[in-house]
């Protein structure tokens, strides 16, 4: 390998560090908004205060998405899950549903599904112990039948894989094909996709993935497909979580999330088949990260609903309640979960979950307390569910909508957050919009500068983390070991066997025919979803689909983009 192929870290360009008074971290919020010791009515601008007259369920939705909030529907307990073989995945899903989870998330491993590699690809076989590590491995549709075995697909709300745009058509096609093979209509199936740009081009890039413009095409295709066939499916979900846990602060998370949503709205509109009023509701299901800055995070969720409603009204002339009502899924910050003394993370998870509920989330996943060590153990998973059930059943938190509405501090914070987020949003639009800031690297620079500043505050002790840089004890008694899962030689070998079986027992001619059809559609403007569905149903393997995508669209050069330099 030639030397020049390697990217060398450029010389130092340190971002400016905010120096805090007296070394205290309480002067500024996590996004840098100055905080006073006490707030009064004069700290809330009238134009913000006046909007609080609108109730929960009414535009601009500051006070909540639905009129009766949790009285009419509790937030959905929606935990990320998955490891090992399809059988392991199936077992874990049943365990979680039995424990009271009210939606299922099927997470795949990064080795195969995110990358769309077959398990016998050298990229995978050289690190086979990671197969089935961060989620379950699949070789094709047959594995999805195993994952969903005995689970009533027509009754569950699901998110089947598809975190990154290149894998979303495949994982969703598999899930939907399980449903149709059981005789259900696509229109009956409910759940959500993700196809998130922040995950793909900022937080967790794959080694080989399709370029951003092709990813946008995939997402728009999925939106159009669902618009026609799947009214109960959220086709894509902009995931602020992935931006925020990669560094973006609350202001940036709001701004980039809405810039991304606008990219979808404009993209579909410009295709000319659908009017924004007919599909805007499909884009209004998003996800946010909630981290440890309690009040700022509550404020962020309230502001988000208003910004969405304002965007639809001011930019697209939409005032319809169904479209203007943003639905929020929250994931508590994985990065807030410490390696040191992991049991402390149960407390952190509870605090972040409370903030999400106080901000009016529609669904919630609480990171496992062992997040920094491994994927969740059974026990960590159960704790994440129990935290939510205790909040729902024992605290009265679900009785009243927007219990913090009218707090001088919260309303002041909301008003300031909104102002700053719109300024940042305009900065993005002035560069040509969201996709432009992905491609020109500005998104990455924004995140990495913020990430460094956050790290600096921990290093110099301005931001305290118990057990990490504060209140250390010599002999920690709360350490646990990580969950070992089922990844490794056996899981990999079983997957190789299943792949060989798939290749041997399928109708090869039909499989190749569907693959050629997929190849043809990739190079046209036709919708990508139907040929992917046909391919998985013809037992085409995941790697064969990945190969078609890579050869049709090319590969985004991660080496030039990694590390945000």
């Amino acid at each position: 390998m030639a030397r020049s192929e390697f990217h060398k870290l450029a010389s130092s360009n340190l971002p400016k560090v905010i120096t805090l008074k007296d070394g205290k971290n309480m002067d500024l919020s996590a996004s840098g908004i100055p905080r006073k010791g006490i707030y009064g009515r004069n700290d809330v601008p009238d134009e913000w205060w006046n909007q609080l007259d609108s109730n929960s369920g009414e535009a601009p939705f500051i006070r909540g998405a639905y009129p009766d909030m949790y009285r009419s529907k509790l937030w959905r307990i929606f935990q990320l899950s998955g490891y090992g073989s399809p059988e392991d995945m199936n077992k874990r899903l049943k365990f979680l549903l039995n424990a009271g989870e009210t939606g299922i998330i099927i997470k795949h491993d990064r080795m195969t599904d995110d990358h769309l590699y077959d398990v016998d690809n050298p990229e995978v076989s050289e690190r086979r112990e990671d197969v089935g590590l961060t989620g379950t491995v699949t070789v094709g549709l047959r594995d999805y039948q195993t994952i969903m075995d005995g689970i009533p697909i027509e009754k569950v709300y699901a998110k089947p894989g598809g975190g990154v745009p290149q894998s979303a058509p495949y994982t969703q096609a598999c899930y939907w094909s399980v449903a149709t093979s059981r005789g259900h209509k696509l229109s009956e199936i409910s759940g959500t996709g993700q196809s998130d740009f922040f995950l793909t081009y900022l937080g967790c890039p794959c080694k080989e993935q399709i370029p951003p413009a092709s990813a946008l095409r995939f997402n728009l295709d999925i939106i159009e497909f669902c618009n026609e066939h799947m009214p109960k499916w959220v086709p894509v979900s902009v995931a602020g979580y992935n931006g925020a846990d990669s560094g973006l602060n609350a202001v940036q998370e709001l701004a980039f999330l809405f810039a991304n949503a606008v990219e979808y709205l404009d993209g579909i509109k410009n295709r000319g088949k659908l009017e924004p009023k007919d599909f805007a509701h499909q884009i209004g299901g998003v996800n946010f990260r909630v981290a440890m800055d309690f009040f700022e995070e509550i404020a962020k969720l309230r502001v988000a609903r208003k910004m969405w409603s304002d965007i639809l009204r001011n930019r697209y002339g939409i005032t319809d309640v169904k479209a203007s009502r943003m639905r929020i899924h929250v994931v508590t910050a994985g990065s807030a979960m410490t390696y040191q003394e992991p049991m402390n993370n149960i407390v952190r998870g509870t605090i972040m979950a409370m903030a999400a509920a106080l901000g009016g989330t529609q669904s919630l996943g609480v990171s496992g307390y062992d997040e920094a060590l491994s994927i969740p153990s059974d026990h960590a998973h159960l704790m994440s569910i129990r935290i939510q059930q205790i909040l729902q059943e024992e605290t009265g938190l679900a009785s009243v909508a927007d219990p913090l509405g009218g707090s001088f501090y919260i309303e002041s914070m909301c008003s300031e957050l909104e102002k700053r987020a719109w300024e940042k949003f305009d900065e993005i639009q002035n560069q040509g919009g969201f996709l432009a800031t992905v491609e020109n690297g500005w998104l990455r620079t924004q995140a990495s500068d913020e990430q460094r500043q956050h790290s600096r505050r921990i290093q110099d002790g301005n931001m305290k983390i118990v057990g990490v840089n504060a209140h250390l004890i010599d002999d920690p008694i709360l350490q646990v070991d990580g969950f070992e899962g089922q990844s490794g030689d056996v899981t990999w070998q079983q997957a190789v066997d299943r792949l060989e079986d798939l290749r041997r027992t399928r109708d090869t001619k039909a499989a190749m025919r569907s693959l050629r059809e997929l190849e043809r559609v990739c190079l046209t403007n036709e919708n990508i979803v139907p040929p992917v569905m046909a391919a998985v149903q013809a037992d085409v393997s995941i790697g064969e689909i990945g190969h078609v995508f890579r050869s049709s669209f090319g590969v985004w050069d991660v080496s030039e983009n990694e590390f945000g330099v």
Binding site: M1, S12, R110, T134, C206, S455, Q459, N469, S487, S559
Partner: protein, 131 residues
Amino acid sequence: MSSEPIQNRSKVLVVKTSLDGHWRGVSLVARALRDSGFEVILGGMLRPSQIARVASDEDVDLIGLNIGGRIEVVHRILDGLAEIGLSEVPVFCGGTVAPKGAEILRARGVEVYPPGTMLSVITEAALRLTK
């Protein structure tokens, strides 16, 4: 941490051992090393079998591995280094390594810096290992 680069001509290869794409930790560590005067070579997601060759081609003084959960691959990387006579090149690692795995790696002479380690501890280790 000083923003003035320290005089230091050592070279470090920073590379992920898995296809897991979480870059946040790697990025912070790579920059901290750069700011301590190291020349940082970013290996991205090189295959395990390629790491030793790149370490040799680039003539690095230190290898930093970002581990994505399992440690078996580290043994293969160390074996690969030994095969081409590079067993003297120090290796240290961070990322997602459970305590049990960290113990095993330390027993093989690999220093392990789990999440939450202060960056100054990591850069001091890098300077010590390349003395």
